[in-house]
């Protein structure tokens, strides 16, 4: 392959395996950046009187370290592993939406570049701490443009992650191989499913927070600045994201550890049903513990006590996970390969790190520890000791599958020892430093000096261990011995195919029979016997033999592997638009044009139905039979509920919090400020439009093109009318002097109706797309029906949100 072809392959790929590799490589890049920053500020802390890294630069290093490690290294690394492995583990050919998968990756990459770009602005990167507490992040206290870039990069990353969430959830639900029941899924896939569930509802509040922070800084709103609780509002929004975020980071590592520990103990996971239930309960409870990050804010003590109880309760599921791992190891025939060493090491670190966290759940104890190095040691023990080492364990474990080569066990063991020693030396002294406050670049307490220096030495040892690991991987790529398809004798589905995984994943259709054996059925066998009888074992067919080389017999199911530059160009457009928004207006216009062109090009391919693909007809019937587009839209709706939920929470908080009641002098009732009739008219317009959309569904279902046309034109007309009415309404309000500077009640109004209007506009685009399809003659068949249903569901949520907006803003 020529160099140019090789580059184009990586730029245009939508294959989950390639994208997985892209994610892993990119996240390791971010790891090196953030890790180097950590080494720099650890040097400063070892020599507190030096001027090595002081003042704003120190805080920039700390902030960027935190943000990049959490958002641009840890989760994306897990997503990369998941991208490669999850479809293989469930028996799918690819993810549900390959082009969206590529879009997720490129948005992620460019959002990271956007953040790092801030370090090159004249005032540098944001220096406010990764928690971005308001009002320090307001423009008057942090005027730097780097802060705006950071907010936009977080917004962009949230988009990337939401798209990825939808992709994975639909894949795991709808694209499993026949016979692969929910319970048979391996632990890694299950834990990725829980991670995706958490991400779905955790990232929208962060996205809304970042967006509101941006408009606070640039449009003069006062959501986070207003003295009646603005700081607390950010606290709530951020930590509502922040707490599930830690489980988003943890679950993939636990899943990888589970797969590894079971393989190398030669035993299945102990009490799988219980541990899955435990994880599900943890997922649910994780949304009601966030206030333990706010224990010393002085809010209502009974509220805080409730959160203290839920925090202590959430330790139960993780204790069950630890128990399950230990009992899997117990009486197993343990084989200590490098992945197993890392997995057991992570488990040990999890016990240490996790138990130190339980103390923080008590308000009384938290009072002493909060803001000190105990907290830092606790979360780093888990993030570095469990999550990072667990993900490295996963990388080592699946390395033969991904690259087709083995690594050096000896170098791997050196990596392991150095890593464990590094983690212990770095963070155990920090537990003893439980009196030292966080975010200080200098101190003059002599007792802390030795401990800090030990910690710094430990951090360098850990850095060396990372380099050793990288060397191991690079060496393996260059001269590692070729790996067999199942070097570990494991029993999950990904080990039944050659290493590295062939382009089409499986040779034949993997069918999991009732006795838990797997056959790869060829097309002819399926036609002859039918999937059900093969699955029940009524017919014993030979597996399609694994071809000696990938270039052998072609796959039984033809796979369209789409190669397209659209995701890359669309992400570039977004990047230029966001960067230009704060740095240079011409660049912003360029970005917008590029993004719109890329989107148009992408959707035009869909108008022509280039990528119609029937779901393979063997998906279980629940929740949405054989319809991934509709399933995807429902998952998207769940995230929209979280998004608008956050926006409404902002409204409730700033209305209710200052005075403790809903009706007050500070907030004039809606009917005095807004034209109720105009609002009512808009409500009727939107409602009519949504109703008219049902005509589209009927038309497509029955092949009645005229009906579809009427429905589409009707909805389009109503939606555009809604926007026009809204335009005039805003115009009137602005003319009456009720702009953004009129008070927080107007700012809340513009925020909410602006966000809703944006969604109406996107609905207009979607309806236009369907209209184009109609004119092009491709609005027929199952695919079209799914798309119509999906857009109809979308209009439904837009309508429902408006029915909440209207009374809350116009009537009370």
């Amino acid at each position: 392959m020529s160099f140019r072809t090789w580059v184009m392959k990586w730029l245009t790929t939508t294959d989950h395996k390639d994208i997985g590799i892209l994610y892993i490589v990119t996240s390791i890049g971010f790891l090196l950046v953030a890790g180097s920053l950590a080494l720099l500020f650890r040097v400063q802390l070892a020599f507190p009187y030096s001027n090595f890294l002081v003042g704003s630069e120190y805080y920039q290093a700390v902030t960027v370290h935190g943000l990049v490690m959490l958002l641009w290294f840890a989760s994306p690394f897990a997503i990369g592993l998941a991208n490669y492995i999850v479809p293989l583990q469930i028996g799918a050919k690819d993810l549900a939406f390959p082009r969206l998968n590529a879009l997720s990756y490129w948005l992620y990459l460019f959002s990271g570049i956007l953040l790092l770009l801030s370090a090159f602005t004249s005032a540098g990167a944001p220096d406010v701490g990764w928690t971005l507490y308001a009002p320090l992040t307001a423009r008057i206290y942090t005027p730097t443009v780097g802060m705006d870039l950071a907010a936009l990069s977080i917004f962009m990353l949230s988009l990337s992650i939401t798209i990825g969430t939808i992709n994975f959830m639909v894949t795991i639900a709808a694209m499993r191989a026949p016979g692969m029941g929910w319970f048979k899924l391996p632990m890694f896939t299950w834990s990725m499913l829980f991670t995706m569930l958490l991400m779905l509802w955790a990232f929208p509040p962060l996205m809304v927070g970042a967006a509101v922070l941006f408009i606070d800084r640039n449009l003069g709103t006062e959501f986070f600045l207003n003295p009646a609780g603005g700081a607390l509002l950010w606290d709530h929004l951020f930590w509502f994201f922040g707490h599930p975020e830690v489980y988003i980071l943890l679950f993939p590592a636990l899943g990888a550890m589970a797969d590894i520990i079971t393989t190398f103990s030669r035993r299945p996971i102990y009490a799988k049903k219980y541990i899955l239930t435990a994880f599900l309960i943890a997922t649910i409870i994780s949304f009601i513990v966030w206030m333990h990050h706010m224990f010393i804010t002085g809010t209502n003590i009974y509220t805080r006590l409730f959160y203290s109880i839920t925090t202590i309760l959430i330790s139960i599921p993780f204790e069950m996970a630890v128990m399950s791992f230990i009992f899997t190891l117990y009486k197993g025939r343990l084989i200590y390969t490098v992945p197993m060493l890392f997995a057991v090491g992570s488990l040990l670190n999890f016990i240490i790190g996790g138990s130190t966290g339980v103390y923080l759940g008590s308000i009384a104890i938290d009072r002493g520890f909060r803001g000190t190095y105990w907290v830092v040691a606790h979360f780093h023990y888990i993030l570095v000791g469990t999550v990072t080492l667990g993900l490295i364990a996963g990388l080592y474990y699946w390395w033969p599958k991904i690259t087709g080569r083995m690594y050096s066990e000896r170098v791997g063991k050196i990596h392991f020892v150095l890593a464990m020693v590094g983690v212990a030396l770095t963070f155990l002294p920090q537990f003893v430093l439980l009196d030292m406050p966080r975010r200080y670049f200098t101190y003059d307490v002599p007792e802390w000096l030795t401990l800090n220096q030990i910690s710094t030495v430990g951090s360098f040892i850990f850095g060396v261990s990372m380099l050793v690991g990288l060397a191991n991987f690079l060496l393996s790529l260059v001269k590692g011995p070729p790996a067999p398809s199942n070097p570990w004798n494991a029993w999950t589905l990904e080990w039944f195919i050659p290493s590295p995984a062939p382009k089409h994943n499986f040779h034949g259709v993997p069918i999991v029979r009732e006795d838990n054996t797997v056959v790869f059925a060829s097309e002819e066998a399926i036609e002859k016997y039918g999937i059900e009888s093969i699955r029940k074992g009524e017919v014993d067919i030979p597996s399609t033999p694994l071809a000696g080389g990938q270039h052998g017999a072609h796959a039984s199911h033809s796979t369209h592997h789409i190669a397209t530059l659209d995701p890359l160009i669309l992400s570039t457009g977004f990047f230029l638009a966001f960067a230009g928004l704060v740095l240079s207006k011409p660049v912003m216009y360029l970005g917008v044009i590029i993004a719109m062109a890329a989107l148009a090009r992408w959707l035009w391919k869909d108008v022509r139905n280039l990528f119609v693909e029937d779901l393979p007809g063997y998906v279980e019937n629940w929740p949405f039979p054989k319809d991934k587009i509709r399933s995807a839209m429902w998952v998207f709706i769940a995230s929209e509920i979280a998004t608008f939920g956050s926006i409404f929470s902002v409204y409730f908080f700033i209305r209710f919090n200052p005075v403790g009641k809903f009706m007050s002098d500070a907030w004039p009732p809606g009917y005095l400020v807004h034209d109720v009739w105009l609002g009512l008219i808009n409500t009727v317009i939107l409602f009519t439009g949504t109703l008219l959309f049902t005509l589209v569904y009927l038309g497509v279902k029955n092949g009645n093109e005229k009906l579809s046309l009427i429905g589409l034109l009707g909805t389009l007309y109503m939606a555009i009318l809604f926007l026009v009415v809204k335009y005039f309404e805003w115009g009137e309000l602005l003319a009456a002097g009720l702009g953004l500077d009129a008070g927080i009640y107007m700012q809340a109004y513009y925020l909410t109706t602006g966000a809703h209007g944006l969604h109406v506009f996107l609905g207009v685009l979607a309806t236009t797309y369907l209209l184009l399809k109609l004119f092009h003659g491709t609005l027929k068949g199952k695919q079209a029906l799914s798309e119509v249903l999906a857009v109809g569901i979308y209009w439904g949520i837009v309508e429902m949100v408006w029915t909440l907006v209207f009374p809350l803003y116009y009537l009370v």
Partner: protein, 203 residues
């Protein structure tokens, strides 16, 4: 594909799990009830309150911090008014004589600050738009100069933001009897960081 292992014993082979879960639940029930006991009965967790305040009330705190920060309402019972802003605490020195109960009223002029008296359990956030009220019961043998520092990153001068709290004890007024005496109090004071004689105290 792996199938579930069934161990020996009753309850469908899950005896050990049930025993383990029972142990965990018992331990956690102990933790949670001890939480309640310490918090309410032993007053180990003096409640910190953030009181919503408007501009006037915040100005009042600021004035008091400048003019008359330390008010002794009764022997040993103090009200202290402190105003924090980037990057100072006003007043920067607070002297207390034989304090038994000190109520801090703290306000911030700009961003979120953290109020911590090192080596004690006084640690709370000061939020814009709120007055943080915290009642502290200093141990009767605590004396000398204590460091008051800012605990929540507030900008480039964060590490400079400190003040001193000086506690003077005179012999006769020393109250050696504690309110709720006994073994548990001693144990807590030995293990906790609230007392300078505790194991983990620094300095």
């Amino acid at each position: 594909m792996a199938h579930e292992e069934k161990g020996g014993g009753g309850h469908g082979g899950l005896v050990y799990e049930y025993i383990y879960i029972a142990i965990i639940v018992a331990v956690l029930a102990g933790f949670i009830s001890s939480l309640g006991y310490y918090s309410f009965a032993l007053n180990i967790n003096p409640a910190c309150e953030a009181i919503k305040a408007d501009e006037e009330q915040l100005q009042e705190i600021q004035q008091l911090a400048f003019s008359n920060p330390v008010v002794e309402k009764a022997p040993g019972i103090y009200d202290v008014y402190i105003y924090g802003r980037q990057y100072v605490w006003i007043p920067s020195t607070i002297t207390l004589e034989n304090p038994k109960q000190v109520t801090f009223y703290v306000a911030t002029g700009d961003v979120i600050h953290g109020f911590e008296i090192a080596g004690t359990n006084v640690n709370f956030m000061v939020l814009p738009g709120y007055i943080s009220k915290f009642t502290w019961y200093p141990p009767s043998d605590l004396e000398g100069e204590l460091l008051l520092l800012c605990n929540e990153y507030c900008g480039v001068g964060h590490q400079l933001m400190k003040a001193s709290i000086i506690i003077e004890r005179s012999g006769e007024a020393l109250d050696t009897t504690s309110d709720s005496g006994g073994f548990i109090e001693e144990l807590i004071s030995l293990l906790s960081i609230t007392s300078p004689t505790g194991i983990l105290a620094h300095g």
